[in-house]
């Protein structure tokens, strides 16, 4: 069973709450996907507006675990303060830590990420770092107290799938006991299934469901792909080979002529 910081999560599909056509479709997609954990954010509230209140009520009705993020933060200071505001607002010490290097790639700024993770872990947070697949960065995040790692599949919102499968396979082998989540870049259920077949513990995605023609149906599609990928990993996949190998028994083949066989 999948656990984050000692808490059992009933689904290996974690989904973002942004970009949906409507709050109702968001709620329906979350239910259809079977997801038990959604990501959320904090944003500026205008004077006399209560924009956040309705969203907060919707999230509470979903009755799922909530993972606030620090999306948009470019420095350690911004990320730490945003995390502290999110902890108060969402009443959780879980934080999806994002420190972003630049706006074109939305690549994690890994030096700031490690520093912010250390500060937040010391402050009692349970940090879920959005990171590259770099093993040295991963080691430093673990040393800083992170018990979950979330490498990107591809840049956020790109839908490219797993851009660096070799490095992701290596990371899985290198950290056999730490929950690993592919976070970002997943575009299709097949991408998610592939990551699960590699032994990843969960998939976090947003755009691929939210921007689908039918987000509710796509939520189910991802759910099934992730379950299939996990079952395949647990079952033990066959080793690929270069040459053909007949699956039907050769012995007893009709018209088989031993003299003509090569």
């Amino acid at each position: 069973m999948l656990e984050f910081y000692g808490t059992e999560i009933g689904s290996r599909l974690l989904i973002g709450t942004a970009l949906y056509p409507s709050p109702q479709i968001l709620a329906d997609a979350v239910k259809a996907s079977g997801s038990r954990l959604v990501t959320v954010s904090v944003r500026r509230e205008a004077a006399r507006a209560r924009s956040g209140q309705g969203f907060w009520e919707l999230i509470k009705q979903l009755d799922v675990y909530v993972l606030p993020n620090t999306a948009g933060c470019n420095t350690v200071k911004e990320a730490v303060t945003t995390a502290q505001m999110a902890r108060e607002l969402f009443e959780t010490d879980w934080i999806k830590l994002e420190v972003i290097a630049n706006n074109d790639t939305l690549q994690p700024e890994v030096f700031g990420l490690v520093e912010a993770a250390r500060i937040l872990n010391e402050d009692g947070f349970k940090v879920f770092p959005y990171m590259t697949e770099d093993l040295v960065v991963a080691e430093k995040l673990v040393a800083a107290g992170c018990e979950v790692l979330m490498p990107w599949g591809a840049p956020i919102g790109s839908g490219q799938g797993l851009a660096n499968p070799l490095a992701l396979r290596t990371m899985r082998s290198y950290f056999p006991d730490i929950p690993l989540v592919i976070d970002a870049g997943i575009g299709a259920p097949s991408h998610a299934a592939r990551a699960m077949e590699m032994g990843y513990d969960a998939i976090l995605l947003n755009t691929a469901i939210a921007k689908a023609g039918d987000p509710v149906k796509m939520g189910r599609a991802f759910s099934q792909a992730i379950e299939a990928g996990r079952l395949a990993y647990e079952s033990g996949l066959m080793e690929p080979r270069d040459m053909a190998s007949p699956s039907t028994p050769v012995a007893g083949t009709p018209f088989f002529n031993i003299d003509g066989a090569s």
Partner: protein, 65 residues
Amino acid sequence: MRIIVNGETTQTQAKTLEELCAALGHGTSKVATALNGDFVPAPQRGAIKLAENDAVEIVSPRQGG
């Protein structure tokens, strides 16, 4: 007094962060605050005095990926 709220220059009579939140209609709203880049927990807003050119952030729950 001139302060900056969520990146916009604002004139206010509020003396504390709590008074500012109330004046902006956030008295009972689910918001979190920061002053000059540092988080201010809700129970401490009444004790935080505002000064000229202070930068205040007031945020609320929102959709995120």
